[in-house]
Symmetry: C2
Subunit: 349 residues, 2 copies
């Protein structure tokens, strides 16, 4: 506890006010000791409007959404960045935020463990962040927590480990329409395959990052990540969500699997299933080790709700962390922030 | 990664070579980058003998077990302390170890969160450790991980929390005889009650510490910990372990429960059941929050095996931590140490 924020709240700017950005804004408004002081979104139907309106409040917040990060001039402590999944798109934005001396917490999936995407861009971010005395973290519920940091954390009880299998199974009917579309729900098998090959269906982004983060945390010599092709999960019976009806024989969603190859064999396997009609939703971690660990969260943690929580809960951890590009495993054991957020600030070392 | 241990291994001394101390020694001998350089045990049947003999090896290790911490003169980095559950008994030993400029990792249950036992002793340890540039940590599987640090870690996915319920259910038949005796297995109900009231049955020590650690991590205003009286779990049918047969109507083990009272009501409830014949062993965490979290490890993590793992895995984290008295929640996200332990050393800030 220190006096870095004795009179003022922790000041946050939002970069990206899409579905997740809006939920983050709504949660921040409920939290004590933190205040939104600016917002940026390039979408023509958002820039120029009041943030309160855009996130669905009945009142204005007095914060006009700016079109460009360059226009930001409010003094702030942290930028919450929620605009893209890919490092290459996030990169110029992150660089701009660092130059404004803002700590950055980003939902960008590839930024959760960016070293495996581009060592050069990662090094640039790290160096620039150090030069400007700020910390950059990519996180969210997954990648960022369920299939990586939680796995790393649970290995603490093990004396030896032979294999780690992590599985996430989601009933897509409970998720937003864009998510249902992203996983190909309702498509014929031919359409599904076409959309996978032309990149319209990307599936979950992050298995690679999660495997690399686990390997690095455990100091395993990761030779490569093997990603199996994305395959459709075929509906046996008709299943439906509020938006999509899937006929028997059509794709209800997708299955992805990736392996971390260490010393020539798969030591880490991550399986991801998201489809309409999943009878059981869960997040499971099975560690074949001494002792064995057989852990399950059931139902699975809701992606959007969890991501918003993780992003907001990491604000004090990122303010406290040494400058540079960090990943979840590098920081202090995280927790929920239920009281005044300033109580969690101890200041950068 | 740094060069603090370029040529030599991390040097460990063992304080206490009882059941847990022996298992820790055996695990340390399997790990790379770490070496046992001394051992202390006051027991007349251990002091003066070679450590290898005492831990059941067929060879001597060339380490004679000393009778007293004062006799230790090997240069070392970390003392692993496994002699007692209570802070008052551990205190003079910890103080002596700190004065020898040793980082300390202790299995002492009350040291996992000692502030609730004695603020004065905790402050003394903290000050002395800071003066000597070393770090002190009390940990183990429970308290230290399953019913506290893991709970804190899992709250990261939550936006709001109303109540936390943690439960550990152990089949005592799978544990050591001293554990079975400690929980009163095989006693009549009258004997059980007598042994509870005269302190022969202490049950699990740590519920209080776990509640206090969770409350502190979440910055909740803990008013008090309410511990329910220890009650016997009565065998309905005859149940048995390798050592003890429990007749119907007799105590198969015990049930303990404690509550963290916050804003006048129980916000945290910890339940602990250990008895011979438990049909399902598990560790569960249920968070009534947004989102809800329903987590279970099944079977439960074996206490001794897990404690030994946690103690050894925390060695580099404790070497890396700033000086002072720390608890698990204060340190970097922990993990298993599967490769050369020196790779995990970054040095004190």
């Amino acid at each position: 506890m220190n006096n870095r924020f004795p009179n003022s709240e922790i000041r946050v700017v939002l970069i990206g006010v899409g579905a997740i950005g809006c939920e983050i804004a709504r949660l921040l408004l409920k939290k004590r000791g933190v205040r939104i002081v600016g917002a940026v979104d390039t979408a023509p139907n958002k820039a120029g409007r009041d943030l309160g309106e855009v996130i669905g409040l009945n009142e204005k917040l007095g914060i006009t959404i700016l079109k460009d990060i360059g226009e930001l001039n409010a003094r702030a402590d942290v930028a919450i960045h929620a605009t893209t999944s890919t490092l290459s798109k996030a990169y110029p934005q992150i660089i701009e935020l660092i130059k404004k001396r803002l700590n950055v917490i980003s939902t960008c999936e590839e930024l959760s463990y960016p070293f495996i995407v581009s060592e050069e861009l990662s090094r640039n971010i790290d160096n620039l962040a150090k030069n400007h005395g700020v910390t950059v973290l990519g996180t969210g519920i997954n990648p960022g927590f369920l299939m990586d940091t939680l796995v790393i954390f649970l290995t603490t009880v093990c004396q030896e480990i032979r294999h780690i299998h992590v599985e996430r199974v989601i009933d897509a009917a409970k998720r937003r329409l864009p998510f249902q579309i992203k996983i190909g729900a309702g498509l014929s098998v031919e359409e599904f395959k076409e959309k996978v090959s032309n990149g319209d269906i990307t599936g979950h982004i992050g298995l690679k990052q999660s495997i690399a983060m686990i390997s690095n945390a455990l100091d395993l010599k990761l030779e490569r990540v093997e990603e199996e092709p994305i395959t459709p999960i075929i509906a046996e019976n008709e299943v439906r969500s509020a938006f999509i009806t899937v006929k028997p024989g059509f794709a209800a969603g997708l299955f992805q699997r990736a392996h971390g190859i260490i010393n020539g064999k798969a030591m880490i396997t991550l399986s991801f299933k998201a489809y309409i009609g999943a009878s059981e939703e869960y997040d499971s971690i099975v560690i074949d080790g001494i002792p064995p660990v057989n852990e399950k969260i059931s139902p699975c943690i809701h992606g959007d709700v969890g991501t918003v929580a993780v992003i907001v809960n990491m604000i004090p951890r990122v303010i406290n962390a040494p400058p540079g590009l960090k990943t979840m495993k590098d920081l202090q054991v995280p927790s929920a922030i239920l009281s005044d957020m300033r109580s969690f600030i101890v200041g950068k070392p």
